[in-house]
């Protein structure tokens, strides 16, 4: 089998797909409000709390942490509902019958939700600078600009697993809604994982968000950026691989039972 055309087509498919879905999601005021408003509220809360704690040196960390929370929120709700949204739009059957593997069709959607989350990162950092005079003194400014997109990529791949598993659950939203805060907590987005009980640490290590956040925070306030970033990508790729396996099974089951279009 000649895999050459596929190797060429996949990056194009992903890039065009991400562009399409980012444009589509950016047209919804509700989507943008979700993506930006809640992280801004948390950024404001964090800035006041960090100031009250006499910890003004970490205000940029607080703004960046709130932005990371926004990226996760966007991935959780956007990717979790990716398949369901296509069902509601009536496009799921077309996507499934396309010769391109379903995972490759869904990956741009989940990556797009993570890209939409970067609105939150931009907003919280800008919010901090404009309203609270938070100085933009990144420890590694260039690495920060690398760490954020790579973190987005890792979270987008994680989103693919969410998309794949949530489609199996009839009440996926019931699971998604409370998953926001535990991942913020377990990944150390705003609070270091060291303050959590020891039994939670293995769960934290298994989350790409933990390593992505560690890399972004290290680029912000100092520390090793590359190793946690690689760990985030490796874990994200593992989650994406698991998603491919789950999606294959889901697709076969849905085709056999003729339940693809059923909500």
């Amino acid at each position: 089998m000649n895999t050459g055309p596929l190797v060429k087509r996949v990056p194009r498919l992903v890039l065009v797909g991400v562009r399409t879905h980012v444009s589509y999601m950016s047209r919804s005021p509700l989507e943008i409000t979700f993506a930006v408003l809640v992280p801004l509220v948390y950024a404001t809360l964090a800035v006041y709390l960090f100031r009250a704690a006499g910890d003004p040196d970490r205000l940029l960390t607080a703004s960046v942490g709130a932005g990371l929370m926004g990226i996760w929120g966007s991935v959780l709700f956007g990717s979790g509902g990716a398949v369901q949204n296509q069902r509601w739009l009536g496009t799921l059957e077309t996507l499934v019958v396309a010769p391109t593997p379903l995972a490759l069709v869904l990956l741009p959607i989940t990556l797009a939700t993570a890209v939409i989350g970067t609105y939150a990162m931009g907003a919280t950092v800008l919010w901090g600078v404009l309203l609270f005079d938070v100085p933009l003194d990144f420890a590694h400014p260039l690495l920060f600009l690398v760490a954020v997109p790579v973190c987005v990529l890792a979270l987008g791949m994680t989103g693919l697993l969410l998309a794949a598993t949530f489609v199996l659950l009839r009440n996926a939203n019931a699971l998604a809604n409370p998953l926001d805060t535990p991942v913020w907590l377990l990944s150390g987005l705003l609070v270091p994982v060291t303050v959590l009980p020891a039994w939670t640490h293995p769960v934290s290590w298994a989350l790409p968000t933990t390593w992505g956040a560690r890399a972004v925070h290290a680029a912000t306030s100092g520390g090793d950026v590359v190793a946690p970033l690689l760990a985030a990508v490796a874990l994200g790729a593992g989650y994406a691989l698991a998603a491919v396996l789950v999606l294959g099974r889901v697709e076969r089951r849905a085709r056999a039972a003729a339940t693809l279009a059923l909500t």
């Binding site: 408003l37 709390l49 019931a174 907590l185 609070v191």
Partner: protein, 263 residues
Amino acid sequence: MFRFLGTARLVVVGGAISYRALFNWTTPPMFIGTLLVGPLLQVFFFVFLGRELGVADDRFHLVGNAVLAASASCVYGGTMAVANERRYGTLGAVLLSPRHRVPLWAGRALPYVLNGLFVSAFVLAAASLVLGLPVPTRALPGLALVLLVAAGACSAFGLALGALGLRFRDVFLVSNVASSGLLLLTGAAVPRETLPQWMRAAGELLPLTHAADAARGLTAGAGLDRVLLGAELAVGAGWALVAVALLALFERGSRRRATLDTM
């Protein structure tokens, strides 16, 4: 006598039917996931953030967030109680009714008061058990009263937001903004003395602010602060008046422009 019974029936039966019909996303898994587990996990997030920063103790975050937990059902429920009538095309039938509007809308808010009370009580009890922060038994009657008043005030606030649904299309955007505003301004998650003066002043006018302070006093063994309870009652009454006035205003406007059911 018959008139009173008719009004009571409108409030209780009408409210119960509208709750079942309009707050229709609350299947048991959604109720447990979104209204019970989500707020409970939010308590833990703020407790660990508080421990890390040392700005306030566990009890501050536990009680504040437990009171705030009522807002999910009260704000969104109050909004849905009005806006979903329009969305489902039943608003015309409701407003054709010759019944007085105050009991009609008050009945719609009532189930959310009970829902909010239940959610707050659950979150307070479960978080107290997990964190090992017992609530004094003698504080329970006072706490029940405070939580009831808080849920009532918050439902009136939600109904006022719902009234905007008679005029604007994307009212859920407004309820999302309002919900985030409650988190930031009521002092449920951050000590209000750390906020600037204008944010504290805004918080005084919002539901849950005084109730959170009163509940904290009760759990600390200080007894019921009648001034705070009265302030929460006054805020709730104020929002109820705003809701009734806005509902009347927008109803008249919608009739005049023939836009009652226009989406």
